[in-house]
């Protein structure tokens, strides 16, 4: 090889090395950002579609150690902290029942898509599938998921009633309108809501309130004064944070305001929108008033950004689903750990409503192991199963009695949520509208709310436009004649 050729090779080697290192750094930066908790590369901790990344599934296999297992249950679940608490429960069930459990975990968006693809094809590949609560009415209406109560799921009265109601289809009247064609069906429990969520909570830095001599706000006007009192963009320190991203995040995080200002339901029984009523507009305007005291990037904020603001100690109060962020905010090293008061949202002039949203599990109607799947769910909600779920898995328990035990209510993860969480679930909170079409509607609705948040539209214009478009859509699909 000539001297010149060697020189060129060295140069190329150096270039390629630089290229690989810089590429690695850039990819690393991106993937680091996408790994908010644990070691899994996923951003699917939030209830929404803010960003989607395809990652390899996490597979956990639990088998009894003594004898060869007789049966295998396949579970398709959420990756990240949403699916972690189930591992010790599955492990224990596996030992007790001599069953092998294959727990395949993927991201939120992929899971929603894969579930529909599999069930629509009548696949029995998975026996148990995790789903967000707005998704399962569609699966139930198609007959793709099994009615759990008729298969032997024990409706235990110690489990919060609102969770049983949320998992029913059709849902009870207090949860709002039921789609035409589904109203006259016999109600059954199709889903078991038990992780993530459970709904919108107000969080405020109690230490900062004490420093300024302010009391815990009882209504939204007082909460707005708190946000205003701490807002100092030059520090920077902000008074308020929530999720502002278009679609589900802003729709869910603003919904409490609409109810508290007098909106009875988002739709009446004829599926005519009520969310552009004067009361609802007033409520949404109040939400926009809070946004004035939020960080400048709020319209693109998801759960990750929300958590970061509290972790970095840059915000005094906010509104969010604690299941998405509490583990991160309350962990050692967070500037807000142990300082936040998580509470039932303050009252509005007309009401003090809770907005419910919980992740669920369903049983595949095409499964060949339905009985075993029901056994597992019965174990999951049993006192023993819930104790393992809470103490080892660090998932909040769905049994009221467990919240009274000091092992739970003094646990650093659950202590900030006690007694707010059981009180919230006992208050008959209202979920998203119960329909098979919510994902289409929330895209339109949440898009217009976001347009109002960025100042493109007024609160009234945004809600009117959303109502008009959603009405068109509902006419097209036959909800409105």
């Amino acid at each position: 090889m000539s001297q010149e050729a060697k020189k060129v090779d060295r140069r190329n080697f150096l270039n390629y090395t630089i290229a690989v290192v810089v590429t690695g750094l850039l990819v690393g930066l991106g993937t680091y950002y996408l790994t908010p908790k644990g070691g899994e590369k996923t951003v699917t901790v939030e209830k929404t579609v803010t960003s989607t990344v395809t990652v390899s599934p996490t597979i956990t296999v639990t088998s009894p150690t003594t004898t060869a297992p007789q049966k295998t249950l396949r579970v398709l679940g959420f990756s990240g902290s949403l699916g972690d608490p189930h591992i010790p429960v599955f492990d224990e069930f596996s030992k007790q029942k001599n069953v092998k459990i294959e727990y395949i975990r993927i991201g939120y968006d992929e899971l929603a898509e894969k579930a529909v693809s599999l069930l629509q094809a009548g696949s029995s590949e998975f026996d148990i599938i995790f789903q967000d609560d707005p998704f399962f009415p569609r699966l139930a209406s198609k007959g793709w998921i099994a009615p759990l109560d008729t298969l032997g799921l024990k409706k235990d009265s110690d489990v919060f009633e609102s969770l049983w109601d949320l998992g029913s289809w059709p849902t009870p009247p207090y949860m709002g309108a039921v789609p035409p064609g589904e109203r006259n069906k016999e109600p059954h429990i199709y889903a078991l809501p038990h992780c993530g969520g459970p709904g919108e909570f107000y969080g405020v830095r109690k230490d900062l309130l004490d420093q300024k001599g302010l009391s815990v706000p009882k209504n939204w006007d007082e909460a707005l004064e708190v946000a205003k009192a701490f807002y100092d963009p030059n520090k920077p320190f902000y008074g308020w944070v929530c999720r502002g991203t278009k679609g589900d995040p802003i729709a869910f995080d603003s919904m409490t305001f609409l109810y508290d200002y007098g909106m009875p339901y988002m739709f009446n029984d004829n599926w005519e929108p009520q969310f552009n009523s004067p009361e609802a507009v007033e409520g949404f305007q109040m939400f926009l008033n809070f946004a004035k005291y939020a960080p400048p990037g709020l319209p693109t904020y998801g759960a990750t950004e929300y958590a970061l603001e509290f972790i970095n100690g840059r915000v005094a109060s906010g509104m969010i689903n604690p299941g998405d962020v509490v583990a991160d905010i309350e962990k050692p090293g967070s500037a807000s750990a142990g300082k936040l008061l998580w509470m039932f949202p303050p009252a509005g002039p007309k009401a003090r409503k809770g907005v419910l949203g919980v992740f669920t599990v369903v049983v595949n109607n095409f499964s060949k192991n339905k009985d075993l799947a029901i056994d597992l769910l019965n174990y999951l909600i049993s006192e023993e199963g819930q104790m393992i779920f809470a103490t080892k898995g660090k998932g909040w328990p769905i049994r009221r009695s467990l919240w009274k035990k000091s092992e739970i209510n003094q646990d650093p993860v659950f202590k900030p949520l006690y007694p707010a969480l059981p009180d919230f679930l006992d208050s008959k909170p209202i979920p998203y509208p119960r329909t098979t079409e919510w994902l289409t509607m929330v895209d339109i609705y949440g898009g217009y709310l976001n347009a109002a948040l960025i100042g493109q539209l007024s609160a009234k214009e945004a809600l009117d436009k959303a109502a008009s478009e959603i009405t068109d859509y509902l006419k097209r699909i036959g909800y409105i004649k």
């Binding site: 140069r11 590429t23 990819v27 996408l34 989607t52 278009k246 679609g247 400048p296 289409t440």
Partner: protein, 283 residues
């Protein structure tokens, strides 16, 4: 030719055709067939999906956003790629291999990662522009301002794909016989004259190919937008590909999504035919 040999020959020639049929034409035909249904082939609705399209404000907005996005990105990628290639092609240019490596670096980043990476870079609190607030200057709201958002996501696409146009143009430039450029230089031709009279005619076909390819690709842009804005703020960055994805895989209305895809398919085909015709007309 024996009967067996004839059969084999027919099979041999039929194979590529059947592959093309299986992989390309059949899915397209099936998609058109799906577009006459609602949901997951639940009800036959005839042309209703197509008739609803002009009344669907989300579709109309998405078409406008897609055209704006495509126009900004294709024009920028073509011009910047050409400028970079022509600059590096100059005999005076130094460290060519270093620049070449740096220019093509963005091609190694997956689009969705690029989207998230830029989301951080653009972030008014966590990104580099957050430093401006330390100086008392309000950082621009790249992804939150409705007037800036489309421009900001266009920058991500331009950053990702200009390396491709650069590579194509640079390869094209290196194919121009050096004697022609040297002669022009000896004859006293300026840089601009050399470009317009020698370089441009040589690269004309490549420019057309780049415009067609980049247009086809950018009309379907998805990953980087999903990773950075998810179509927001409002609907200002919701492109037609994102809208189709949401209709197909969130609302599970495969019929309506197929009708949008069919319209998109017709638009792309029409654009390609028009571009080629225009190019030949000039010839």
């Amino acid at each position: 030719m024996s009967k067996d040999k004839l059969l084999l020959t027919i099979l041999f020639f039929f194979l590529p055709f059947s592959l093309m049929l299986g992989l390309s034409i059949l899915p397209t035909v099936y998609s058109i067939y799906l577009s006459f249904f609602r949901g997951m082939m639940e009800n036959f609705v005839g042309f209703n999906n197509y008739l609803y399209l002009p009344r669907d404000q989300r579709f109309v907005d998405a078409i406008q956003v897609t055209f704006k996005f495509t126009a900004i990105t294709v024009v920028s990628q073509t011009i910047i790629g050409l400028i970079l290639a022509y600059t590096l092609f100059q005999p005076e240019a130094r460290y060519k291999s270093v620049w070449q490596t740096l220019f093509i670096l963005p091609l190694a980043i997956p689009p969705v990662v690029a989207g998230v990476m830029f989301k951080i870079l653009y972030h008014p609190s966590f990104g580099p522009s957050g430093f401006l607030s330390l100086l008392g200057i309000s950082p621009p709201l790249w992804l939150e301002d409705p007037n800036l958002a489309l421009f900001s996501v266009s920058i991500i696409n331009i950053w990702m794909w200009t390396p491709f146009t650069f590579l194509v143009f640079y390869t094209g430039l290196r194919a121009i016989p050096s004697e022609i450029i040297e002669s022009a230089s000896i004859d006293g031709a300026s840089g601009l004259t050399t470009f317009t009279k020698i370089v441009y005619p040589h690269l004309k076909t490549l420019i057309l190919v780049i415009i067609i390819f980049r247009t086809m690709e950018n009309i379907l842009a998805f990953d980087e937008i999903m990773g950075s804005t998810a179509g927001g703020p409002g609907f200002t960055t919701t492109t037609i590909a994102m809208y189709v994805y949401k209709i197909a895989f969130k609302s599970w209305d495969l019929g309506y999504a197929s009708s949008i895809s069919t319209v998109l398919f017709v638009i792309i085909i029409a654009f390609i035919i028009l571009s080629i015709k225009l190019a030949y007309l000039r010839e």
